[in-house]
Amino acid sequence: MNGISLYRIGALALRYLYLLRSSRVRIIELAYWPTVQMILWGFITRYLAGHSDVLSQATGLLLAGVLLWDILFRSQLGLSVVFFEELHARNLAQLLISPLQPIELILALMSISLVRTLLGVGIAILLAIPFYDFNLFGLGLPLAGFFLNLLLMGWAIGLLVSALVLRYGMGAESIAWAAIFALAPLCGIYYPVATLPGWLQPLSWALPASYVFEGMRAVLLEHAARLDYLLYALLLNAGYLGLGIRVFLATVHQARERGSLLQSGE
């Protein structure tokens, strides 16, 4: 592999920023769902706070859960949907005959996913302060670890989904939306992993997000920063992201063998 060029990664990221800039609707849409989710769960929290011991101890549990979940969801979507843009635009072949390397394509997708996640979830996080007097930044320094881990896991899933669509065509696009929801019940977003049946718990502990949500509850309920959780999540993410990158690169290589890059599109 030749040296990775930040200039080329920046060039491709610029292409996605141009696209974002070209449509205000796209920017509004980025923040729309996280904000709606936040508002909905904020009211649910208010209602349940008067009826639940757990929630009266830590009223932010559900809101923190939904906002952190959105980081995971948006980072995955931010990567795979932007990749699909290339397929829809029949632009992937142009990119792959330019000096851009596939690993640089991945890094550009990751960087734009970060921007989209910060924009989308960031607005919802800021709106939660005046709406419900809930400040996610109150989680303190562990929030940075939670954010990083959710971002990495989102990228890993996003790359696997993108590889799947590159291999099987745009018909598999709906998987981008469905894949992460299949994992949601296992991640312990709104309840501890211990709530799951015994046989499902090992599966849950194999997901980095489960450690993040357990860590979040530890901060809110016990005022404890569980660095061990962050470390486990980081180790798992290293494995999953490595797998995601390998699978994506292998799929591009396979597409070169099968000749599907010239035909990639709707």
């Binding site: 030749n2 141009y18 635009a89 029949r90 072949a93 142009q94 005959i97 330019s98 000096p99 010239l262």
Partner: protein, 250 residues
């Protein structure tokens, strides 16, 4: 010592299971020449170009461009070449200027604004720089695609049907731009085309393909003479129908 060819293809093949899309072809193109890759639909032209670009991995054989082994070291040669085809798009929602800026940066072009201004003038596209690419006519899109292909002042320019679906005036302008560019830069051009008058006008060398194999090579003049025909159009029809040179057709 003689300069090595700009493009060297040796025993190149691409098989999809039992289908031999390209079947052991060999040819070379000297630096500064314009070579036409001709053949009917499914002859293997696009497959060959895709392999030259590294977009498709060969089943066998060798490709050397500017003395670099393409399948192994494509990253070394890609900044020195470019490609244009009406069948490969640019992002529709981006403006022409945005598209060209992104690709200029991908190709490491220095002084991007100046380069865009020059190409805008030369290809007469500066009037619609701020329009979305998707809103352009076929002729305008072809000129923008060509601008993209000339951004990095490529030493090797690959063109897949550069004037397909253009009116005669637009097609003539594209041919003039290509001729000017080659005279100025000394670049090597390889083009796939179905337009035989274009081939006669632009090309020094012709490689004729049929069913993935090379069936004739030479200059347009040589081929016309060898087949005893009056122009390349008739030579093309002979070859596409499997008629050998020198055969008398009733």
């Amino acid at each position: 010592m003689a300069e090595p060819p700009a493009i060297e293809v040796e025993d190149l093949s691409k098989h999809y299971g039992p289908v031999r899309a390209v079947d052991g072809i060999s040819f070379s193109v000297v630096r500064g020449a314009t070579c036409a890759l001709l053949g009917g639909n499914g002859a293997g032209k696009t497959t060959t170009i895709a392999m030259l670009l590294g977009l498709l991995l060969p089943t066998g054989g060798q490709i050397r461009i500017l003395s670099e082994d393409v399948p192994r070291h494509r990253q070394r040669v890609l900044p020195r070449m470019n490609f244009s085809s009406p069948y490969v798009d640019l992002p529709q929602r981006l403006t022409v200027a945005e598209n060209l800026t992104v690709y200029a940066r991908l190709y490491g072009v220095r002084h991007v604004r100046e380069r865009l201004a020059t190409l805008g003038r030369e290809l007469d596209i500066d009037a619609f720089f701020q329009r979305p690419y998707g809103s352009l006519s076929a002729g305008q899109k072809t000129r923008v695609a060509l601008a993209k292909a000339l951004l990095n002042q490529p030493e090797i320019l690959l063109l897949d049907e550069p004037t397909a679906s253009l009116d005669p005036d637009s097609a003539d302008r594209i041919r003039a731009i290509l001729t000017d560019y080659q005279h100025q830069s000394g670049a090597t051009l390889l083009l796939a085309s179905h337009n035989m008058s274009e081939v006669e006008r632009l090309c020094d060398q012709v490689v004729m393909l049929r069913a993935g194999r090379i069936v004739a090579t030479g200059t347009p003049r040589e081929l016309i003479h060898r087949y005893g025909r009056k122009d390349m159009e008739e030579v093309f029809l002979d070859i596409a129908r499997g008629i050998q040179s020198g055969e008398v057709v009733e």
